[in-house]
Symmetry: C2
Amino acid sequence: MCLTSASTPSLVDRLRSGDARALARAISIVENRRPEAVALLKTLFPSTGHARVLGLTGAPGAGKSTLVDQIAKHYRKENQTVGIIAVDPTSPYTGGAILGDRIRMQDHYSDPGIFIRSMATRGSLGGLARTTADVATVLDASGRDLIMIETVGVGQDEVDIVRLADVTIVILVPGMGDDVQTIKAGIMEIADIFVINKSDREGAERVEREIRSMQSLDIRKDGWTPPIVKTVASDGTGTKELAAAIGNYEAYLKNENLLVQKNVENWRERLIEMLRDAMLEKARARITDGALDRYAVEIAEHKRDPYSLVEEIVSGTAK
Amino acid sequence: MCLTSASTPSLVDRLRSGDARALARAISIVENRRPEAVALLKTLFPSTGHARVLGLTGAPGAGKSTLVDQIAKHYRKENQTVGIIAVDPTSPYTGGAILGDRIRMQDHYSDPGIFIRSMATRGSLGGLARTTADVATVLDASGRDLIMIETVGVGQDEVDIVRLADVTIVILVPGMGDDVQTIKAGIMEIADIFVINKSDREGAERVEREIRSMQSLDIRKDGWTPPIVKTVASDGTGTKELAAAIGNYEAYLKNENLLVQKNVENWRERLIEMLRDAMLEKARARITDGALDRYAVEIAEHKRDPYSLVEEIVSGTAK
């Protein structure tokens, strides 16, 4: 399988040597699904699998970005290189990231060891999780030691995104209402580590009690009990303890041989999603936009039933 | 295309005559995607297109269910039959609806003119919107005059679900924090009508001002300015005004010929989703579960790149 773009080989070389501009360009190619994206990913894949991947999720206002910055600084002191993918809450209609790269980049501008990329929610369902995974592949191939994926914990999309991570950290804060807790119902179960951020605020003990009572009801099949770490990200309190908790869980995964198992399960899901996209592309190639418009009108006017039509398109007999 | 189940014809007849048990059974067939589901939907589709479809969305605790009940009672007094699909917030891991059919059914038990069905969030992305659409098709074919789809407004899933509706109602309540408002960013833009429920609480005016200031920034391309209706669903206050607002918007859609246009756009999207599912099924038929497991292991161990593998599966050359 040859590369479709003549400039890709040198891009790959520069990327592997840690060039931040090459990294940014490669990510753009993958994020925008440019024609050369698949060839690039094929080339990069054999160089991946070395980075540790942390997933961090929590409601807006939980202080995720600040905590991610603190964790990044902590590992930078250990000379690890860091890549951050910040998946931002955006309107499915207007697009565009709420947090820009610019604001957060400034802080780390002088340190090439930290690379930050913000990604906006795209309109297409499921597409974001896949794109995030592909961007993580590029970061991994670029030799980053640690990749952090930061998302807002509100829906299935986010659950799919953090599923990519080796270690998933759920961030809660004191003083959020029960409504917010309900929203997070699905997110709570994916936590490998709980963080109570802004833990100097009133109500931190209550949040801790609530997590503990949930844990007493639900024992994980892998036997791990997610620890609760209290932090104040704005002044760095608890960052060391959080890093220790991350290390503990990583050691547990390694000892129990769970990491490979987790990766296999993840790839099983991802393969099906990739297959679905590839097949859809194949199907879309069979119908022109004009035909699609005509079909939609015929169905809306009830002159045609969509269930038979789809079968006809798949079998190549649609008129 | 013949029906795959011998019992389906009589089920269809009973369904069309308004039999609630036949309706419940037909919905189960569609919801669980049983083998006879597609044949059933094909048979039913020509009888659809008569029901009005309302979509209602809002955060947990906004009082959606109570409001939906009040609207149902209102239209029952006008002798319209009502079908309610309540899409419940559930964990993607444990499944199962939080609100059961049972609790809410009791209230309307004696009235066969109201049919309520709760649906749980399924694990698969995008699947819920499609299933909801298919369930609405069944309710429509059963002769219900009004279909209400009630969802929790937190993510792309819900946006896709309410897109099915002719009229989308976004329910807000006073006293929810800014965090919740952020979460709802995408939901705000899909409102044809805003409801401020629990409007006897402090802060209702503030919510109204916030909506107005958002509206002043963003003018809809169809020229409609969503009205704001204040309700207290628990005692029925504002239900009449809400019904009037619904009627106004429906008249507007009819006068401007927007309803057909909305349906065409909706079917364009749905066709692509249905096509994607159908093509995935075709692709899945090409690989056994055993092969999928083996592929996942090979990729997780970095012995194989997934991007090439997917191309090979699609072209039928994967080994």
